[in-house]
Amino acid sequence: MKKELFTAFLLIGIFAACLANVSYIGKLTDEINKLICQSQELAAEGNWQASAEAAEEAVRVWHEHDAYIHIVLKHADIDSATDAIYDLLAEVYSHSAGNVDGTALRAHYHFECIYNMERISFGSLF
């Protein structure tokens, strides 16, 4: 009976950890997406200094969670998201007003995808 109880708690524990992971990834991608949007808006206003700061902050937040995301996310997804966010930073540094919108959208899409893959929905299940 001990074995069965242990496995029942293990199953519940795994499910709880999965839900906690979805919530954590949700908060993380949300925070980064807000910074990306902020950077995009500031770039549109011509405030390149503040836009760069917002994009740098997004990069910093993403790298701050490196250990965690490498445990729970596929490395290919991490690499695409990291590339996208650095592309945005590069466009902001070079003050390319015409390209910031596109790269910001791409970065935003990558982080949205990461969350969509993790969250429980009909689409992600099947």
Partner: protein, 225 residues
């Protein structure tokens, strides 16, 4: 490379633990839920070893989930006959009073070649001599012959067959198994005496020594080469 090595070790010990928790059955005797878990665990756990871009947790988490499900299903089927029947864990009578139950054969997708092969393995060639044959959940067949077809026993012939018991290993490849000495109520001094009787100097010279409770001893000495 070091990561592959460490990941392989982790997955190996995890699967070993899973199999240990699932129970001491041979692969051919697995029940459906055990087979599903065993196949999936080995397949899913291998993915992070093949692709370094997949986190190890993608192998560990499904393996633990499958293991938990298997243990829980086994526990529930112990209590619930209905669920056991639903999962196909109930035996089927495929031969009754010397006649093949074709309906049960079809239901279990068990063909006549498989049936006759299983019967031959058990030394039975004449189906009419079988009172009952049961297809067990693990795919093996249990046979009950008609009493007139059963081999005679010493008891039926009033022959004294002695009082032997299951022989236990006392020396295994030169190593004395103290627990089994205790089981038979003997000690190392007794063992040394028995070895001397057979002109064996030390237990280290013995490959296998077994004895039953009547002290019928079997000794196999180590090859000298």
């Amino acid at each position: 490379m070091a990561i592959i090595f460490l990941r392989t070790l982790i997955v190996f010990f995890l699967i070993m633990l899973a199999m240990r928790i699932m129970g001491k059955r041979q692969l051919g005797e697995l029940e459906p839920s055990e087979l599903v878990a065993a196949v999936l665990i080995s397949d899913i756990s291998a993915n992070p070893l093949e692709d370094m871009g997949i986190p190890l947790i993608y192998g560990i988490l499904p393996a633990l989930t499958l293991l938990s499900c298997e243990v829980l299903i086994s526990a529930i089927t112990l209590k619930s006959i209905r669920l056991r029947s639903l999962l196909g864990d109930v035996p089927s009578i495929v031969i009754s009073h010397g006649k093949i139950n074709q309906k049960e054969m079809r239901k279990n997708r068990f063909n006549i070649d498989e049936l006759t092969s299983e019967l031959r393995k058990q030394g039975v060639t004449d189906i009419s001599s079988i009172q009952t044959a049961v297809l067990e959940p693990d795919g093996s067949i249990s046979i009950l012959l008609y009493p007139s077809e059963c081999p005679v026993t010493p008891a039926q012939l009033n022959i004294d067959s002695g009082n032997s018991s299951y022989p236990v290993i006392l020396i295994n490849d030169g190593h004395i198994i103290d627990g089994n000495l205790k089981l038979l109520g003997i000690d190392r001094a007794w063992l040394d005496k028995e070895l001397k009787k057979r002109n064996i100097e030390s237990p280290e010279d013995v490959f296998l020594l077994t004895s039953d409770s009547s002290f019928n001893i079997y000794v196999d000495e180590k090859d000298k080469t």
